[in-house]
């Protein structure tokens, strides 16, 4: 019954959304500010990647909010996952099940991923990519050992330091801009040569902060989720999923 009404309303929604789509002007949106940014961004910010100009320049506050959301999610997650006593049953590293190949290749991949991640972070203002993308790769680098060896410890206090200071660095760069006589988060330190590594003022610095922040947050998040412990293994959940699926047909 519930499913039928849900489907009914959802099909109504789909129909209405299609009606909306029908009324769009063909050929894309007006791009009012988009065009203006395409014209001005290079002069104002000196970053070859215009998306970066938008992310860190024109909409820098959004980005601040965004890393704050990641931080909030990580904090909330650890708040949720921490039991009241503060004790977390961290399992001992279990290398027996992993096997040599897995462990060695994860060790092999670690520096590669680290390098790639840093590269992408550093070239965020020049090429596709940037702090977020690079940060995710960094997180993957740190998460890989955890996948290979369940129970592999993660240095949470270290992560907290990185999290805190990279986020603080982002804001502090913004505040320094203020003391330079600019607006909050306004890029400064000159434009440099367009397309070179040291260009676009503080944008690369901001991106480094973002990259570190995202990397630390994500690895923290993933590690938190992974450390729930063997008392409640993922396997059990998936078994339960099966049985629920079975009962749904009854």
């Amino acid at each position: 019954m519930r499913n039928y009404s849900a489907l009914l309303f959802a099909s109504g929604l789909a129909f209405l959304l299609m009606v909306i789509a029908w009324q769009f002007t063909i050929g894309g949106a007006p791009m009012l500010i988009g065009n203006a940014i395409l014209q001005q961004a290079a002069d104002e910010l000196g970053a070859a990647n215009l998306v970066t100009s938008v992310v860190l320049g024109y909409r820098g506050i959004d980005t601040l909010g965004e890393i704050a959301i990641l931080f909030t999610a990580a904090t909330a997650t650890s708040l949720v996952l921490s039991s009241i006593s503060g004790q977390r049953s961290r399992p001992a590293p279990n290398t027996a099940q992993s096997g040599t190949i897995l462990i060695s290749s994860s060790r092999l991949l670690f520096p590669l991923l680290l390098t790639l991640g840093l590269y992408i972070v550093l070239h965020g203002h020049l090429t596709p990519g940037g702090g977020f993308q690079g940060g995710v790769i960094l997180a993957a680098a740190f998460f890989l050992p955890l996948l290979a060896v369940p129970g592999h410890g993660v240095n949470h206090s270290g992560l907290a330091l990185v999290e805190g200071f990279s986020g603080a660095a982002f804001i502090l760069i913004g505040i320094i801009a203020l003391f330079q006589g600019n607006a909050f988060l306004q890029p400064f330190m000159g434009h440099g040569a367009m397309g070179s590594l040291f260009s676009a003022g503080t944008l690369p610095l901001l991106y480094i902060a973002v990259g570190l922040k995202v990397g630390a947050e994500l690895s923290g998040l993933l590690a938190n989720l992974a450390e729930i412990g063997p008392a409640h293994p993922v396997a059990e959940i998936s078994v339960e999923t099966q049985s629920v699926k079975g009962s749904a047909h009854q």
Binding site: I33, G57, Y58, I61, G65, I69
Partner: protein, 489 residues
């Protein structure tokens, strides 16, 4: 030395560093939060008092509509002052559990300030999300199964709401090609069509999840029943108002003369009916207040849907009154969490608590001469003045709902003063902190009772400014300033 960006930057910075400070010195970390909130309060108040407004500040140094601008008029600055004050009041001073909750509260403070001040649609959305995530964490901080389940359900509704709001923003962007509210307002003619209105509906229902708009408020009773009273007070009192304000801004600037008003009106009417009826039958205080706050927010929505200044005035009056009363009532549930029938004789154990309950209940019902009455009077005259049969229907429903509200609130009050029997719970005494929070709000209520006229005049001025669409657009698009650090004389 002042810059409104500090109101965002400082709490976020403090939250980022709080774990680090906590590792260093737990005691120092406990001081950070209140200090930052005080500073925020000062910055906002300084803008309110010393600096000419309304003004639009291009926060990142890029003039609107390209960059993000903050719109500082009396309304947004008022909210920016109220937010840290409210958080200071509801701060977990006796919290021994750790720094995470404090960090979340700081993030909440930053996000709320951002939502109140921002003049950019997507920026509002980002802060709204920040606010959501922080509130999920806070709602789950009770650490029991019920709280987790309730928060999960809250998160699912909220997440879908996010998707809808994002879709709405996308639609607006496809129609206008801009994100700045003032710029959108300038292009409002392009939005007065199916697509534009659909975008409005999507945003209203998306953000409305936090604003407890009917019917997307299924999470309200369960979250408020499981969260700590402090958190419920914060969510019902402050956060819901910010979401409402975001909707109202969009309404005033871009959809002032469209069907959007009637959508809000209809949703508001339904909210009143549903909320008050449900509250009538609630058997414990927490859920009663939860339902009643749904009803109250319905009233706020109805008030805002009155066209013109009258609507803004009525809406602000109702909103600020609820902002004051509901947190106090929620705080009183701290030790009155049992069923209402077990509260028999609780007035003996906590006489001040019971007296405060009566005070706030009377004001909520709208008994003269309490401030709630004046808010309701403004709203009622506004509704009659709108001169439309739908608004008269809303008036009838509002008044009937008040009768129902009086019924359940006074029923509780009488229960509190009834002689104790074997049913009554043994520990209905309030903690000192709880009582002082509620008393502080009570004192504010009583002070405002004696200064209704200046408050009303000020509020009318604020409302007139906030409902002035061309002023908003001109301020942002013609007079935006790049805010360097500035000294206050």
């Amino acid at each position: 030395m002042n810059n409104i960006a500090f109101n965002i930057a400082l709490p976020l910075l403090a939250a980022f560093l709080l774990p680090v400070i906590h590792n260093g010195s737990a005691k120092a970390s406990r001081l950070v939060g209140p200090f930052v909130l005080l500073a925020m309060c000062w910055f906002a108040a300084a803008y309110f008092i010393f600096i000419e407004h309304p003004v639009a500040l291009a926060l990142g140094g890029f003039l609107p509509p390209l960059g993000i601008s903050f719109h500082l008029d009396q309304l947004s600055l008022l909210m920016a002052v109220i937010i840290p004050l409210m958080l200071l009041l509801l701060w977990p001073y006796t919290n021994r559990e750790g720094f995470r909750e404090e960090a979340l509260l700081l993030l909440l403070a930053g996000a709320s300030s951002g939502m109140a001040l921002s003049g950019d649609l997507f920026n509002i959305y980002v802060f709204y999300e920040l606010l959501s995530v922080a509130s999920f964490g806070l709602a789950a901080s009770t650490h029991n199964g019920a709280a987790f389940a309730a928060t999960f359900r809250y998160l699912v509704i909220s997440g879908l709401g996010t998707v809808l709001a994002l879709t709405g923003i996308g639609l607006i962007y496809t129609q206008t090609g801009t994100l700045n509210l003032a710029h959108i307002g300038q292009l409002a003619a392009q939005l007065d069509n199916n697509v534009g209105l659909a975008a409005f509906a999507l945003i209203v229902l998306g953000i409305g999840v936090k604003a407890e708009i009917f019917p997307v408020n299924g999470w309200v009773p369960e979250v408020y029943a499981t969260a700590k009273p402090r958190i419920s007070a914060l969510l019902a009192g402050l956060i819901s108002k910010l979401a409402v304000l975001a909707i109202v801004r969009l309404l005033v600037v871009a959809y002032a003369d469209t069907d959007a008003l009637s959508l809000l009106l209809v949703l508001g009417i339904l909210g009143i009916i549903w909320g008050e009826l449900s509250a009538w039958r609630a058997k414990d205080l927490k859920r009663m207040f939860a339902f009643s706050s749904i009803g109250q927010l319905g009233m706020v929505l109805v008030a805002f849907s009155i066209p013109g200044e009258a609507g803004m005035f009525a809406g602000l009056a109702m909103m600020l009154h609820h902002l004051l009363v509901k947190p106090a009532l929620f705080m009183l549930t701290e030790n009155w969490s049992g069923s209402i029938s077990s509260l028999t004789g609780a007035a003996r154990q906590s006489p001040l608590g019971a007296a405060l309950f009566i005070l706030f209940a009377l004001s909520l019902i709208g008994v003269p001469p309490f401030p709630g009455f004046w808010a309701k009077l403004i709203m009622v005259t506004g509704l009659v003045g709108a001169d439309d049969s739908l608004y008269l229907l809303a008036l009838g429903i509002l008044l009937t709902a008040t009768v129902i509200e009086a019924n359940y609130l006074i029923r509780c009050a009488i229960q509190l003063y009834a002689p104790a029997d074997e049913n009554s719970s043994q520990s209905a005494k309030h903690g000192r902190l709880t009582l002082s929070i509620s008393s502080a709000l009570g004192v504010v209520l009583i002070i405002s009772l004696f200064s209704i006229t200046p408050l009303g005049n000020k509020l009318y001025q604020i409302a007139a400014e906030a409902s002035n669409r061309s002023l908003y657009i001109n301020t942002t698009l013609s007079n935006a300033q790049v805010p360097a650090l500035r000294k206050i004389q």
